[in-house]
Symmetry: C2
Subunit: 438 residues, 2 copies
């Protein structure tokens, strides 16, 4: 059987693993599964002289990624450099040459997914992007192929390993955010500039991709409401625990009456739910389908091995397609993007949820009445309250859990409380997650 | 686009759901995803006059399942009647006619899988069997397509909903097995003859299928060591809890040095592990891969909706293949079965694990010394012990946890203890599960 020839762009932690496995197993076990030998034939890197975890034959190396896309020797292009450019041009170039294209690039697909999907569809080329969301967890294939006969109503998950590592350590050890972040940076779990991870932007990229797939819609990345974890304090973590919850950075995409809600924010999860027990670098994604009910997939969301596994699954899938000789068997998004519109997005103001609130206020009579009054004025009722131990002349924390309330009403209530001048520090708001129903 | 025509065999809880969804969505949303309309054209039932959850057009109905297989109008045959016969002949018949065949029949594939896989492979026909293991949980597709670039070392899971429902209620409510079983039968969660579920045979069917896929081997069903949950008492459940464990019926397939271990038995799981928190009718399957690490998939393991979702995923997958016009893109087992041998099976006697032991003995001095002595004679050391409160002249329970021991040594030790005559009731043995590493 004619080998399927693979060209890699990027030989970092993931790329080196993919290269190694292709070289070591491409002619044996992978060939049996793919229906043809897989052969690494080209690899583009920024610096040819750099020492790597795995070094392919130097004759394969180039510094020009477009050489991989344009080479007549390459059947499948694997893009592992990330970022919008030149990844976008590489993807479009591969589509036009009707090559298979495999990418782990969540930013590219979150920001320019519709264009990329459409290009591959129009050109009749194959696109694999399993590695772009949640590492080894096979969530994209599950949506595109396993829940494809169902109607999905919600997809939510812990899809950022760095954020989850930080929150897990804050929860287990009671250390402040800044200290854990520094430690995570030292250990290589967080980038020097951690913005994408801790501000929820990386999670938002993934939620944009998941929502597009799950709800078969074009998603504008700017429609994803995004809030990070930098303001969470050890006190919030401890209050959550006392109330029977854990705090997680959650990405949520849901569909109600033909409109979708897209959001990333810290959320309180019941301590016995699966999601609450997904710790450290693990990711988890939960789907809710009309017929299948709730499914939860848990695994390693990042790292060379897990991401290489997801990348190889796409390479092998495309190799199987090529070897079987037919046309592409499905559109990149499952259903053709040309037939899809853009579903309306539910504004955050219309969100209805329960809330955790932490006020920092002076320790004097009447303060609680002012808070409760403002909430009541806006139709929000209090479910429970924790008042911290008092220290003379020190501000106190008032921690409240509310019943279901509408976000716009909550904003009004908080503005009203703010206006009384009793808040000595910004008020902390954490939404309660909808339970997965396990 | 030419419609893909589906014929169903069986219109029970699952079949009726599949039929309904095909009729309601086959020309719209499913058509967009499959690349062609899906049309239900035939359905075989035992009794045409029976009232059903969903009744297709009466002109489609037949009482002869072979009419579905032989009809030139049918592209994909969906077998939902279960059992070995006539399901085996229907499968082979479909393969010979090069029709797509989708089945939820775990018994068939556990007992005659190698023959069925080989027939489809030789005939160049497509076989889907996602619904045969763990309902809506997309575990077979995950192994065959998502972890296909990895090397799997272990697959284990809670794959029987009835057994898990019974154990969950025993754990939550402290009720004896027999009482929960009666209740489960009354509620329709357990069959009138519950043997397949409570004796672990159904789980063994699923482990045989999972092992064949994960390790690319021919599996003899008789090689699966099988032990059920009927002997577990509320006392075992309570002792497990005190020791920080939950008892689950676990199916385990693992591979060590080219040999495989296949077993189903009650197992103690650390209370904070994911598996320990999979309750009621939920199933979970955990895979451990060389590169991907541990992945856990949790969802509904049975029921009309979840199993219909899995069945539809196979129908749509085959429809996508047919529509794209190529040859079958992979062998039923992922890699061709013709190239596979039968991996050696590790005898249970060679298993090395920790054990929970409950002895029922007279309450008199020296008894514990006899037990500890016999264990020590066979190189087994005790990790912890619980002695129940004593009641005069009543037998007492001695509960022990051991360190790692070899099953053959454990058998010898237990025989030695038995021989002393101190055991007033059969000794209970529960193995401790290997932790998934979360």
């Amino acid at each position: 059987m004619k080998p399927v020839r693979v060209g890699l762009i990027g030989l970092g932690a993931v790329g080196a693993q993919v290269a190694r496995i292709l070289v070591e197993e491409g002619a044996t076990s992978l060939a049996a599964r793919a229906g043809a030998p897989l052969r690494l034939v080209k690899a583009a890197v920024r610096d040819i002289s750099k020492t790597r975890q795995f070094a392919p034959d130097p004759s394969m190396l180039t510094t020009d990624p477009f050489e991989v896309v344009n080479s007549p020797e390459v059947d499948i292009v694997v893009e592992l450099i990330g970022g919008e450019n030149p990844a976008f041009d590489l993807a479009i170039g591969a589509a036009r040459k009707r090559k298979g294209f495999v990418t782990a690039n969540k930013l590219l697909l979150a920001l320019r997914g519709a264009e990329v999907f459409e290009a591959f569809e129009k050109c009749g080329a194959r696109l694999g992007y399993e590695a772009s969301v949640a590492g080894a967890i096979p969530i994209l294939r599950a949506i595109r192929e396993s829940f494809v006969g169902d109607t999905l109503e919600r997809v939510q998950g812990i899809v950022n390993g760095t954020g989850n590592y930080i929150l897990s350590r804050m929860t287990d050890e009671g250390i402040p955010f800044d200290d854990v972040l520094k430690d995570a940076q030292r250990l290589g779990y967080a980038e020097a500039d951690p913005t994408l991870d801790v501000e929820g932007i990386d999670s938002a990229h993934k939620i944009a991709i998941l929502a597009a797939l799950a709800f078969e819609t074009i998603v504008d990345f700017s429609d994803v409401y995004t809030e990070g974890i930098t303001r969470i304090t050890p006190e919030d973590v401890e209050s959550a625990r006392q109330l029977g919850y854990r705090i997680k950075l959650l990405g949520i995409a849901s569909k109600v009456d033909g409109a979708i809600s897209l959001r990333v924010h810290p959320a309180m999860l019941p301590e016995r739910s699966f999601m609450a027990n997904v710790n450290g670098p693990f990711n988890a994604v939960e789907t809710q389908g009309k017929n299948a009910g709730v499914n939860t997939l848990v695994g390693r969301g990042a790292g060379g091995g897990p991401t290489a596994t997801a990348t190889l699954s796409d390479i092998i899938s495309i190799a199987r397609d090529i070897t079987s000789g037919g046309a592409p068997r499905m559109a990149p998004l499952g259903a053709p993007i040309s037939g899809l519109g853009k579903l309306p997005v539910i504004p955050m103001d219309e969100l209805r949820t329960e809330y955790y609130l932490r006020f920092t206020v002076p320790d004097r009579p009447g303060v609680l009445a002012q808070i409760a009054g403002a909430l009541g004025d806006n139709g929000i009722s209090i479910a429970s309250m924790i008042q911290r131990e008092r220290m003379e002349n020190q501000p106190v924390s008032v921690v409240l859990m509310t019943h279901d309330a509408v976000e716009a009403d909550m904003k009004k209530a908080l503005a009203q409380i703010e206006a009384t001048g009793i808040c000595l520090a910004p008020t902390m708001i954490i939404r309660i997650a909808e339970n997965g129903g396990d």
